[in-house]
């Protein structure tokens, strides 16, 4: 598929979005004024939009795009007496606006839901088929980002329909998806070669460990998180690569014979994550959970699949109410690993 570059005036780009929203649901970061965690703060999170002006192209989103694929709560099927009926799906295609880190995160979500184990996740696969992606270029690095060291600052080889960069009152788009060629050609100011913008350095740097000895898993370096971490799980909920969920049955109170089976996002940091019937519980301490999460993101996933899970978006650093920095933890693991290796 050839790539074509287009320059749009704001009106032209708005027309494109208007046209696209006739056949696609458009899911993009939106600035929610006053809806932040603290009084008088804003938050950027994903929502469906109809107009280009609603899309937050400048700020970093506090939450990721993943909720379109793995909703916080998702009905899988309904029970009616003895019948099981699969939940319905919106048949319209979805166009998701995201940055390079998140497009790299998509590969990780696919890895777990489509390729881990013998079976595909049915409910993930059925929505995944309907979703296309729009790469939002990054003019500069944002607070807490460390995508460059994670190798996720570029998305050239990944699958996206088109890219968008807003530069000097013009929209610069690189189109890969030939289906959209007409609507782009009809509304563009001119055609021109375009490369999506990407960052080449971040203020936050991490050094990754290559192989982590078992002694790091049992090291006392995790103990500080027994008290610093409060196990709220926000780091997991904002993470674009976290995939865990818990099954839940809900029945309607007016009719006890009708209900549904749902799955809801789960967090390995929150109490109850490992509980088995009869009282068994693993990783009771927050420090153990912190170690589990960290190793999953920067070591265990790679051991299994060949590349790191963490994409360096830094959202977990931003959201943590206890100011625990994940990039800092990565550097601590690496320092400790080197220390252990040098002792030998």
């Amino acid at each position: 598929m050839g790539k074509r570059g287009y320059i749009f005036l704001p009106g032209g780009f708005n027309k494109v979005i208007e046209e696209l929203s006739k056949s696609y649901r458009i899911y993009a970061p939106v600035l929610k004024v006053g809806e932040g965690r603290f009084t008088d703060t804003d938050v950027v999170r994903y929502d469906f939009v109809k107009e280009a002006s609603e899309i937050e192209l400048d700020k970093k989103s506090d939450y990721s795009f993943k909720e379109i694929l793995t909703p916080l709560s998702q009905t899988l099927f309904f029970f009616t007496e003895n019948d099981v009926k699969e939940s319905e799906i919106d048949e319209r295609e979805v166009l998701v606006f995201l940055r390079s880190c998140d497009l790299n995160a998509l590969k990780r979500l696919d890895q777990i839901y489509l390729h881990n184990g013998r079976e595909e996740d049915y409910f993930y696969a059925r929505i995944r088929d309907k979703v296309k992606f729009v790469l939002m270029g990054c003019a500069h690095s944002y607070e807490d980002c460390f995508c460059v060291d994670m190798g996720t600052n570029r998305a050239d080889d990944l699958d996206y329909s088109f890219s968008v960069d807003y530069i000097d009152n013009r929209f610069h788009c690189q189109l890969k998806d030939s289906v959209l060629e007409d609507v782009f050609t009809n509304n563009a100011l001119k055609e021109q070669d375009i490369t999506p913008r990407f960052v080449t350095e971040n203020e936050t740097r991490v050094q990754l460990p290559d192989s982590v000895p078992l002694s790091i898993f049992t090291s006392d370096m995790w103990e500080e998180y027994n008290t610093r971490c409060i196990g709220c799980g926000r780091c997991n909920y904002v993470c674009p690569t976290c995939t865990c969920y818990t099954m839940q049955d809900v029945y309607y109170t007016d009719n006890g014979r009708v209900g549904e089976r749902r799955r809801v996002n789960a967090s390995c940091m929150v109490d109850g994550y490992t509980n088995v019937a009869g009282g068994g519980e693993y990783r009771k301490k927050y420090g153990e959970r912190m170690r589990f999460k960290t190793m999953h993101k920067i070591y265990d996933f790679k051991k299994r699949f060949g590349y790191n899970m963490c994409v360096g978006c830094g959202r977990c650093d931003t959201v943590c109410p206890e100011y625990i920095s994940f990039s800092n933890i990565i550097n601590k693991v690496t320092a400790k690993t080197l220390e252990v290796q040098n002792e030998k």
């Binding site: 881990n116 049915y122 696969a125 078992l214 089976r261 490992t274 153990e288 051991k303």
Partner: protein, 263 residues
């Protein structure tokens, strides 16, 4: 059409065997390949799903030995012969019984940990040199004993050591944890003898230590893990330990692999 592994199928209860007040075996209709040590997700709409390991296999049925200890299992006990339970599975790798039937083998199991190895013990009892098979079974008390009829049969087939954690009125057999009896095992060739250990985490840990002390090779020791599993197919993440998904790569592990799993 795409396969939906989450939709459970109904299975009729053929029999209910009561072991203790809280532990019943439900014999359920099932045709298909199953191995001891594998598990099914048993579900009851409104209450949810629970992973339960297979404790018996016939051509037309599977046994699920269930302990009444949670939301789902409490509800399972409200069901009787002729009723229907919903299932998904089987999941997990299960025990490779052929590894244990030739030569010497020791099975150490405690409490509900006996369920996943019941199929293994049955196969050992029917093997040609069943006298070279040793089974150590531990229960909290005589009231907590599972598979009483099987135990009588196993005693006649193999070297079976049955022990209770504590003294009990009217009970005259062995008393003490399973680990107490491991050093007393008499094995002909410790280099090739196989061992299978299943039970609560602490019991498994200390049993393996005793087996290693006795001279067992790490690669000849097999364990089975119990974890929370919401999906059974490597997606929900709850059972993950290090880079390992217990539901996919286990629940049965060789000790060489399991010793580096850190919760």
């Amino acid at each position: 059409m795409r396969n939906n592994p989450y939709i459970p199928f109904p299975s009729k209860i053929l029999d209910v065997i009561k072991h203790t007040e809280k532990e019943y075996t439900f014999r359920l209709e099932f045709k298909g390949d199953v191995k001891p040590g594998q598990f099914f997700e048993v579900s009851i709409p409104k209450f949810g799903e629970a992973p339960i390991s297979v404790s018996g296999i016939t051509e037309n049925s599977i046994d699920l030995t269930i302990r009444k200890v949670g939301r789902v299992t409490d509800e399972v006990f409200e069901n009787y012969i002729g009723d229907t339970l919903l299932l998904r599975g089987p999941y997990g790798n299960g025990f490779d019984v052929d590894k244990y039937i030739n030569g010497e083998c020791v099975v150490v199991a405690g409490g509900t940990g006996v369920s996943p190895v019941r199929g293994v013990i049955n196969a050992l009892g029917e093997s040609k040199d069943s006298k070279d098979k040793h089974v150590i079974l531990g229960f909290r008390s005589p009231d907590d004993m599972l598979f009483r009829d099987d135990i009588i049969r196993w005693e006649s087939q193999m070297n079976l050591i049955l022990t209770m954690d504590k003294e009990a009125e009217g009970y005259t057999g062995n008393v003490g944890l399973v680990t107490k009896f491991i050093p007393e095992l008499k094995l002909k060739d410790i280099e090739t003898a196989q061992a299978v250990v299943v039970g609560p985490p602490a019991m498994m840990k200390f049993s393996v230590i005793e087996l290693l002390k006795l001279g067992f090779k790490e690669e000849n020791i097999w364990v089975s893990y119990e974890r929370k599993m919401c999906c059974g197919i490597g997606k929900c993440g709850h059972c993950k330990v290090n880079d390992t998904y217990i539901c996919l790569d286990g629940p049965v592990f060789n000790y060489v692999d399991s010793k580096s799993l850190i919760d």
